[in-house]
Amino acid sequence: MAKSFVKSAWIGVAALALSACGGEDADRRSGDGERTIELAEFPDRPYWGDTHLHTDNSVDAFGFGVRLGPEAALRFARGEEVTATTGGSAQLARPLDFLVISDHSDALGATRALFDAPRLAIVAMGDETVLRWYDMMHESPEQSQLAIAELITAAGNGTAPESLSDPEQQVERTRDVWNTHLETLDRFNEPGVFTAIAGFEYSLMPGGNNLHRVVMFRDGSDRTSQTVPYPGLTTTAEGLWDYMSAYAEATGGQALAIPHNSNLSNGLMFELTMPDGSPMTAEYARKRAAAEPVVEVTQIKGDSETHSFLSPNDEYAGFGDTGWELGNLPLTQAATDDMRAGSYVRDALKRGLTLEEQIGVNPYAFGMIGSTDSHTSLATGDEDNFWGKHSGNEPANQQRALLPQNLGTRLGRFGWNYLAGGYAAAWARGNTRAEIFDAFKRREVYATTGPRMVVRMFGGFGFADSDWDNDWVRKGYESGVPMGGELADSGTAPSFMISAQKDPDGANLDRVQIVKGWVDTEGNARERIYDVVWSDMEKRTKLGGKVPAVGDTVDREKATYTNDIGAAQLRAVWSDPDYVEGQRAFYYVRVLEIPTPRWTLFDAVRFGIELSDDAKADAVAQERAYSSPIWLKPAVAKALEAQ
């Protein structure tokens, strides 16, 4: 006891001295940001961020080679120039407004500690596997990446060495790393300018099936320092939700969890049943819905909106599925078609409606965001500024598009399967921790695959084209609900005000679509895509019910495109032509850009490499945005009558 007293006395002295020179400015930055800035009446602009970034505190990121920590990550996100791990100066053309650093809670800081330890200490541990990884990490970057791939596979198989998987053995290091990290966040958090949000990644992965979540906190270090990140490898998702509500109860703060890479879950992310296969209970559904209001639908490891198997009538389905659709995260188990519905977000939204009919609660009523999941400390989702999934495929590795990139076996997936990553847009009244978090909580957020399109959607009854002539945003908020909201069935078809504006520094827009999901009278979940508004509508008339393709201006030799086609802004009021009273439904907006070069084409031109035929065919794509849905629910009075 005496030793720890001396240590805490010293740290106490340090803390005292720091707080004495802190004062008002430090308070502004270390809290949740409430009452620090003037807020807009309504959310007046989207704030851009990445909620999924790894630094050298992540067990895998460090092993993959990154040597930049949270500080560099924050500097980069707010617009400063930093030197990437493998050299080269990295900078965002436009800063981000917020960042969640989400290092893996399991073995937080462990590989860095392992790497730094003297070899004798590792020998003394007596674990041959750890010693072998230690030696591989020191041998070369390639060997280090293999060691980490083995580690991830072992974690998925439940065979990771106890010194890395047992939370009890890590609690002290985790607390040290976490508290230091929280202090760093507070220093960079500047209400109204840049928001640094605390979080971690929860890495549950039974049998290599990815059930990862990013957990983000609303609060400053006064509250977040009262907890430590919750381990994933030895727990269950329900345990995570309990941890989150215990945190809220103990501190008065709030946390939410964002599932991601459902595309690598082999059907386990959005099951119709409990994890043990029994029928889902209302209590379980309620807990999940309360804890997980938003999913990450697109990121570097592919896009999870939908799969061509699930949406055969959607000609734009399957974006970012190549490679990732083969199986689970380490590709230790292949994916089959019967798993698809539990792996993709659109079907999860449909399953949510079905479950709500059966048990009265919708566990999958979530909004959508994009993020990067970059393991380089560099939060960039831009095609022309792609710094790689991890430090092994930063641009210094000029062959990165062509090399096999799969974890573990190194078979089946290639560098060109990576997307450049997406961003999260939050409609908030100002840029603070509380405002950004609350936007996520009410699902007033949307996903993009990188471009910063401005997408707005209001649902209500009786919106008309004439509303555009007046203050339509006010009208939307006052007589309708924004994206993420719910409408009660009124006996008439719902109408939607939809506005999409191109990224001012990016490509024009091709079209705006509504994706509708509903449960029909036979109880089957259905989906339909409606083209709502598109560029040059008078010339591009529908042929056989389809809007003709927008065209393609991409110069494959130069990796350039022009904005000679498409539109800068598309707006429409749309009313559901297939509305049936009493049916449960959701509606979300999908915005497509005109075709543009992917990062692979930029690489090919910049480095003078020849892409493989597959990669070449995939080197041009239509980037997109997905709004959070608006749900239409049977009116409460009618539902009661029916009972």
Binding site: M1, A2, K3, V6, K7, W10, I11, V13, A14, A17, L18, C21, G22, G23, D25, A26, R45, W48, E71, G79, E80, A93, R94, P95, D97, P118, L120, A121, A124, M125, P167, E168, V171, R175, T184, R187, V193, Q226, T227, V228, Y230, G239, D242, Y243, A246, Y247, R452, V454, R456, W468, S499, Q501, K502, D503, P504, D505, G506, N563, A568, Q569
Partner: protein, 269 residues
Amino acid sequence: MRLPQWARQPLVHFLIGGAILFGWFAWTGTPVDPASRTIAIDRDVVGNISSGYQQQMGRAPSDTELDALIERYVREEVLYREALRLGLDQDDAVVRRRMAQKMDLIAGSQAEVAAPSDEDLESWLADHPARFAQDIRYSFDQIFFVERSTADLALKSGDLASKLETEAKKIDLPQGVSDMPRQEILSRFGQQFARELDQLEAGDEWQGPIPSGLGWHVVRLREVSGGKLPELAEVRQKVEDDWRLGTAELRKQEAYQLLRDAYSVEIER
């Protein structure tokens, strides 16, 4: 109140700290007496075990779990004392490493207390102007046109008021902004517009049209402000935080060097 210069020297802090440590150990003896065969689990210990579990797992341990945790603690303590009895703390690389890490942590938090002088901060501010300069802020009105020719025509005719109703509504951008930071202009109007705006002189006249990625804008730039490097007094706290973060490693190294200098090391080769 400002401390005299000598009191702000890290060396002085270390000497005082060393004296306290020496006094503490002289008074209490070594913390665990390996000869003792009595292990007291008082409420403090139970509380520590329990809260450690709660912090990690988000709930308090059940009675059974707590019993198991205490049993684990006792087992560890018994083995620890027996290990001390056998002198296993000597020559053990892991123990040595862990203790050194703890000392490093203490030295690190000590370095945190070090207060920079005004001169330190002045030069830090001067060396990193981009981090502290206020963002340039713009106040302007703008009318959006899809085509350049319509914009030219409207500007020539001087009839801009009517365009506010027709052309400008074709885009979702604010028509008038006050004190908008450049970062927000980049985000909402784009890089091209921001670069063009930098070239304009502020005044009452409508100017342009200037292009953005969206179309053309006739602009009345009312005011440009900020962009200057503030005085240290205005941003002292921010500069100090940045200095602290930016020099933490360096100062940790300095703290170590003070300890290191007290040793003479002889290496036989």
